[in-house]
């Protein structure tokens, strides 16, 4: 197996070598262990899914290393046809292991297969899954890709979650210790936070900063030009929110390398971070509401002269909503809208499709399904038999149904007030 990443990168160097070193993902680890200990030919493979850099591949590798397994890895997105898959994996899946060591297969980036050009790729993997004499773990970012449906049904899904900032920090700290680097806690926290739960990218960032260093301070983020654009947005926001004149609020955004639309989102996401008095928040949003209207007017009339007013409202309007500048350090956050949209797109598309199906069945609109049926379906689904029928009719599995009904983990629990996805605070 050729690996593109040389062993010398920190990601590779500081990878977990046993499950004890593995960070978080307790549920996934438990499910993996139960599965592999009971595995016999004919059992379903596991399908690991979740965001990047949270340990899907690393878990399998760590376990293989610890348990002394013969790990056969393959990156599905490199092999775009059925014959290539067969060629690479086909025989070894059927045969007993040569070394006499138990063998474990890891097929990475399965969703990379789902292109049109992957002639028969999904079928080939399905065939392997059924015929294999060895356990197989499949890895995907988004298992709800329509092309992966067959694979999804043929395997057990195991979810991986974004890692907590604290967990990432801990790993970064350990890496620093091993590299002989003395690092500020605050710097590690910032690196961890901006990775948005992706340990791999955090380690990569740390390596960029820390190669050849013995001391790392918070200011090194700036001196290295590390994420320079975002840092200057933070500075701009600080100036804007503290400004006491329309002119200085406007000028705050000068030289920031972002479009007005992007800046709009940055401001919108941070009003409530800066202002504490409700009257100020209300006033600031009133200004933003007008800025928004001007944006739409520009789009519909193509009168770009109006842009000046839109910017006035979103800078001066927001800045002057306060009585006086807060003397505090505000941790501004990344605009959450883009993050949410990216993260929830698949879920939303899947729900929409399922609600359409229900709409056809029940002769009503998807909106009626959501508002008039869904609340009752949640209650009915407490009944296991109904739950099963509903899942079958909608062609989703247990997890798909849970997501669809808007239930959180655990059977029949009600949706919680807090949406954990919005905690991307920096």
């Amino acid at each position: 197996m050729i690996r593109l990443i040389a062993d010398s990168t920190w990601v590779r160097k500081h990878r977990p070598r046993s499950l004890a070193e593995f960070v978080d993902q307790k549920q996934a680890v438990d499910r993996f262990l139960t599965w592999i200990k009971r595995w016999k030919p004919g059992n379903k493979p596991l399908l690991f899914y979740g965001p990047s850099g949270v340990g899907k591949t690393a878990l399998v590798e760590a376990y293989a290393e610890e348990a002394g397994l013969d790990l056969v890895e393959m990156n599905a997105s490199d092999f775009r046809s059925a014959s290539r898959i067969d060629e690479v994996l086909g025989r070894s899946v059927m045969q007993a292991s040569l070394l006499g060591k138990p063998r474990l297969f890891l097929i990475d980036e399965v969703d990379g297969l789902a292109g049109r050009e992957d002639a028969g790729g999904v079928d080939a993997i399905m065939k392997l899954m059924k015929a294999s004499k060895h356990p197989i773990v499949l890895v995907a970012n988004n298992p709800y890709d329509a092309k992966l449906r067959a694979i999804r049904y043929g395997s057990e899904l195991v979810a991986f979650r974004k890692l907590a900032v604290l967990d990432i920090m801990k790993t970064l700290e350990q890496a620093c210790n091993k590299e002989g680097i003395q690092a500020d806690k605050e710097l590690l926290r910032l690196v961890a936070a901006r990775s948005e739960g992706d340990l791999r990218s955090a380690l990569n960032d740390l390596e960029t900063l820390g190669r050849g260093q013995t001391i790392l301070r918070e200011k090194d983020l700036n001196s290295l030009g590390f994420r320079e654009r975002e840092t200057s947005v933070f500075d701009a926001l600080r100036t804007l929110f503290k400004a006491s004149s329309v002119m200085s609020a406007r000028m705050a955004l000068d030289g920031v390398d972002k479009t007005p639309d992007e800046l709009f989102q940055w401001i919108e996401s941070n009003i409530a971070e800066e202002y504490e008095d409700p009257a100020e928040v209300a006033k600031a949003f009133e200004a933003l509401s007008f800025a928004d209207l001007f944006r739409q007017r520009i789009l519909s009339t193509q009168n770009w002269k109006l842009l000046a007013y839109s910017i006035d409202m979103m800078t001066g309007g927001v800045a002057l909503a306060k009585k006086e500048a807060y003397r505090k350090f505000t941790k501004y956050r990344y605009p959450d809208l883009l993050m949410i949209l990216g993260r929830t797109r698949f879920q939303r598309a899947a729900s929409q499709a399922a609600f359409r199906k229900l709409g056809t069945l029940l002769h009503c609109s998807t909106s009626a399904v959501r508002w008039e049926f869904l609340p009752y379906l949640r209650v009915m689904a407490e009944n296991p038999r109904f739950r099963k029928e509903l899942a079958e009719a909608l062609e989703v599995d247990e997890e798909g149904l849970t997501a669809l009904l808007g239930l959180r983990e655990g059977r029949g629990s009600r949706p919680q007030g807090r949406a954990s996805i919005l905690n991307g605070v920096i």
Partner: protein
């Protein structure tokens, strides 16, 4: 329950939703709206129906009436000869141009003189789409008939109204609802005390879909259908996301309210129109003074107007939540 009865249904239909299971299949089975059913029935017997418009409140049987007409006209070939479209999902002109025209153009199957196009929630069609529809109705009168179901006939342009026989559906009276409860109770072998039935009638407010859902959800709990289980289900099923959002804002917790809003818009994918309507409905019963309700309603109207002017739903709704903060009782 008869066990043998389910042999013929295919997999998809194995999902039993009572609202669907107890939907009348023939015009004679329709409990309420007899004044409409009888006249429609007369048309169907002559096998010549005009374009029709059914106007009335939700859950009063408009869609059911339309489906019964299709069933009685076409019987086994109903699926091939009927196009069902919900305008609230496809409100653009494309639907009329492509889907409806394509369907109307193709010849009928079997010995039926025309096809049937059921346009549910037709008052949600944009005005361009309605203009296009008007022409389509005219040019395909020989091959297709339309049934438009609407909540408000005034939202449909005059020329379309004048091409239709308009039927008004009345809100259901208590006796109608009771008859429907009996039908379900008999069909499912449910034992239902009078208090439980009263509770259903009270909560459903004349909406038969809600009656069926309440009963099925209560029965699914498997503990017998009593007044308590009915209220329990109703409390559980109350769409409380909007309420939680408003209450957070009124407690002065803007961040939490905002998270909830973003969750509804982008994770659950709810339509802003629906959220606005639900906020409107909730305001009446919020724990604030009547004066304050008036202020909230005024603000909500203003922000809804801004949305209609092209403002982004997300920003305008947020601005509304920020206004709610002003009514927050001082904490601590």
């Amino acid at each position: 329950m008869a066990i043998g009865a389910r042999v013929e249904v295919n997999v998809k239909d194995s999902l039993e939703i009572w609202a669907e299971k107890y939907r009348p299949k023939r015009l004679d089975d329709i409990i309420d709206q007899r004044h409409v059913a009888e006249r429609v029935s007369a048309f169907v017997k002559e096998r010549n129906v005009p374009h029709m418009m059914y106007a009335g409140p939700p859950g009063s049987g408009k869609t059911t009436m339309a489906l019964c007409v299709a069933e009685e006209l076409f019987g086994e070939t109903r699926r091939q000869n009927t196009l069902e479209t919900n305008a609230s999902d496809e409100r653009g002109i494309d639907t009329v141009r492509r889907k409806i025209k394509d369907f109307a153009r193709i010849r009928t199957i079997g010995d039926v003189p025309f096809k049937l196009i059921i346009l549910d929630e037709a008052d949600a069609l944009t005005s361009e789409a309605q203009q296009a529809l008007r022409r389509t109705m005219e040019s395909f009168t020989r091959t297709a008939r339309f049934i438009l179901c609407v909540n408000y006939s005034s939202r449909v342009i005059e020329p379309i109204q004048s091409r239709c026989a308009v039927f008004r559906f009345k809100p259901l009276v208590k006796e109608d609802t009771m008859a429907f409860i009996d039908r379900i109770a008999n069909g499912e072998g449910l034992k239902l005390d009078p208090e439980a039935a009263e509770a259903v009638i009270h909560l459903a407010e004349g909406d038969l879909r809600k009656v069926a859902n309440l009963l099925q959800a209560a029965a699914a709990k498997g503990k017998g259908v009593t007044e308590a289980t009915i209220y329990d289900v109703a409390a559980q099923a109350r769409p409380d996301d909007v309420r939680v959002m408003l209450e957070s804002a009124l407690e002065g917790n803007f961040r939490e309210a905002r998270e909830k809003l973003l969750d509804m818009l982008y994770t659950q994918g709810l339509a802003a129109d629906d959220i606005l309507r639900e906020i409107h409905r909730q305001i009446y019963s919020l724990d604030v003074s009547e004066q304050q309700k008036v202020r909230l309603l005024e603000k909500l109207g203003e922000f809804e107007f801004r949305v209609s002017q092209g403002g982004s739903e997300h920003i305008q709704l947020e601005a509304f939540l920020a206004q709610c903060l002003l009514l927050a009782k001082p904490q601590r």
